[in-house]
Amino acid sequence: MAASGLIAVEGLNHTFGGKVNALEDVSFTVAPGEFVSIVGPSGCGKTTALNIVAGLVPLEHGTVTIDGATPRAGRHDVAYMLARDCLFPWLTALENAELGNAFRDMPKEERRAKAIQLLDSVGLRDFKNAYSKELSHGMRQRVALARTFSMPSPCLLMDEPFGALDAQTKLQLESLLLELWSRERRSVIFITHDLNEAVLMSDRVIVMSARPGRIVADIPIPLERPRSVRSLQKDPRFHELYAQIWEKLEYGVFDTNMAEQ
C-alpha cells in the first residue's frame, strides 16, 4: 500500500443548519493501522464526525486530513461501510463484492479474483451467484464486509456496521472483521453505541458526550492481539475497561443533561 492511512482531526466544530451545535472542538488522530472506536449517546454527532472524514458532510471549522490530503467522497484511500448492507439487489453477491473496485476502474480479472478471495474468507464461497433477496441479514453484511475489504484502501470508516444484526450474528461478524483486519492492518474509525463491541475490537476507544459532541475520554485498550471475541468476555481486564468507559460515557451524558436544566 502506497498510502499509510494516517487520519488527523483537529479542532472540529460543526453546527446543524448554523444553529444547533453538533460537534465542539473534536480532535483526535488515528495512527496507520490503528483500530479506533468512537462511542457516545445517540445524537452526539459521532456519525457526523465520520461523515466529515468521509467527505460526505462539508467541513465547517477545523482541519481534517487523511495522509495530509483533505477529505473528499470517493477518495480511493478510504473505504466506507454503513449499518445497512446496501447490496444492490440486481447484482449477485460476487458482483456486489467487486463493486467498489469496479467503480474505481480496477481491471476485471484482478477485481474478480479479489472478490472471490474475500467471499471465501467471509464463508460465502457457495453463494457467489446469489442475489441479495436470497441471503440472510448476516450473510448480506458479510458480502458488504467483502466489498469493503476487497478495496485496497488503507482507511476504513465504519458507521455501526453491525448495528442492525441480532446478538449472535453480531458476534460472528465481529470476529470476522477482526480476522480480516489483522491480515493487513488498516486504519479504522469504527462508530458504535455498543461498548462491548468497542472494547473487543479497538486499540483505543474515544468517548463522546451528548450534544454538543465533545471528546470526554480517549482510552487505550491494551489487550493483546489476536483477540478472541468469546474468551475476552471472561477476561477481568475486559470488564475493568468496560466499567471505565461506561463511567466516562455516563458522566458525559449526565453532565450535559445537568447543564441544560
Partner: protein, 275 residues
C-alpha cells in the same frame, strides 16, 4: 489461537425455490379446470337464453354463432386476419414510438430537473385533456390511414411511460447513491448503473400499461374513421346489426390484449430476475 469463521446456517437456495414453485403449480393446476368450467357453464347459459329468446339475440348474439363467425372470418376467409394485422401494426408503432419518446423525455427530466419544472404545467394540461377529443384533429392532420391511429395511441402511451420513467428514477434508494459516492463512482456511472437500473421495475409497469393504451388509442381511432382495422370492423358490424360479429371482434380484442400483456410480463420477469 484461531478465530473461526462460522459457516452461514441458511437454507440452500435452489431447494427453497423448488419448494415455492411446487406449491404455486399445485394451486394453479387446481384452479384452472374450475375457471374453464365456469366459462363453459356461462356460455351454455348464454346460448340457452338466446336460443329461447329470453333476451333477444339481436342484442346479445348467440355463443355458437359468435364462435363460428370468429373461426370463419379469422381462419377460413381470413377477412378479420388482415384487420388484426392493421391494428397490431398501428399498436406496435404507437407503442414503440410513444415509449421511446416517453423514456427519453423522462431521462431528460431526471437528469435536468429544471426542464421538468418548465414543462410540468404544459404536460399536465395536455395529459388531462381527454385524448379522444384530439381524434378529429389527428384525422385532419394524418389522414384516414394508419397515421392518425398511431398518433392517438402515441398520445396516450407517451405520458404513461414518461411518468413511470420519472417515478422509477426517483425511487432510487438514497443509501445506494451515498455508498456509490464513497466508493468513488463517477456521476455517469451512478446514473447508468444505479439510477437507470433502479427505474426498470417501475418503468416496466408503465410499459405494460402503455401497451394496452396504445391498443386502446388505435382501436378508438379506427372506430371513429378508418379503412382497415378491428375498430373499423367493429363499427361496421355494429352499424349493420351483425351482433355475432361484434362479439367475435370483442373476443378477439380480449385475446389480443391478454396476449400482449402476457408477453410483456414474460419479458419483464426475464429481465428482472433479481426481483
Amino acid at each position: 489461537m484461531s478465530m473461526t469463521i462460522a459457516k452461514p446456517s441458511v437454507r440452500v437456495r435452489s431447494a427453497a425455490n423448488a419448494g415455492k414453485r411446487l406449491r404455486w403449480n399445485s394451486i394453479g393446476s387446481a384452479i384452472w379446470p374450475w375457471q374453464l368450467l365456469t366459462l363453459i357453464v356461462f356460455g351454455l347459459l348464454w346460448e340457452y337464453v338466446a336460443a329461447n329468446r329470453i333476451i333477444d339475440p339481436l342484442f346479445i348474439g348467440t355463443p355458437s354463432r359468435i364462435l363460428s363467425f370468429f373461426f370463419t372470418e379469422l381462419f377460413v376467409t381470413g377477412s378479420l386476419a388482415s384487420d388484426v394485422l392493421w391494428t397490431l401494426a398501428g399498436t406496435g408503432i404507437a407503442f414503440g414510438l410513444g415509449s421511446l419518446a416517453g423514456i427519453a423525455t423522462g431521462l431528460l427530466f431526471v437528469s435536468f430537473p429544471a426542464t421538468e419544472k418548465f414543462c410540468d404545467p404544459f404536460f399536465a394540461a395536455l395529459n388531462a385533456l381527454p385524448r379522444i377529443a384530439l381524434a378529429p384533429l389527428f384525422l385532419l392532420w394524418f389522414g384516414l390511414g394508419i397515421g392518425s391511429k398511431i398518433a392517438l395511441g402515441f398520445s396516450l402511451t407517451y405520458f404513461i411511460v414518461l411518468s413511470s420513467t420519472v417515478a422509477g428514477a426517483r425511487s432510487v434508494d438514497r443509501d445506494f447513491l451515498t455508498l456509490a459516492r464513497t466508493l468513488g463512482a463517477s456521476r455517469t456511472k451512478i446514473f447508468l448503473r444505479i439510477t437507470l437500473v433502479s427505474a426498470v421495475p417501475t418503468l416496466f409497469s408503465g410499459l405494460r400499461l402503455g401497451l394496452i393504451y396504445s391498443l386502446l388509442g388505435v382501436i378508438a381511432g379506427e372506430i371513429i374513421a378508418a379503412q382497415h382495422g378491428l375498430g373499423q370492423q367493429l363499427s361496421y358490424l355494429a352499424g349493420t346489426f351483425q351482433i355475432d360479429g361484434v362479439f367475435a371482434v370483442l373476443l378477439l380484442l380480449a385475446l389480443l390484449g391478454s396476449g400482449l400483456t402476457y408477453g410483456m410480463s414474460a419479458l419483464e420477469s426475464r429481465l428482472i430476475r433479481w426481483r
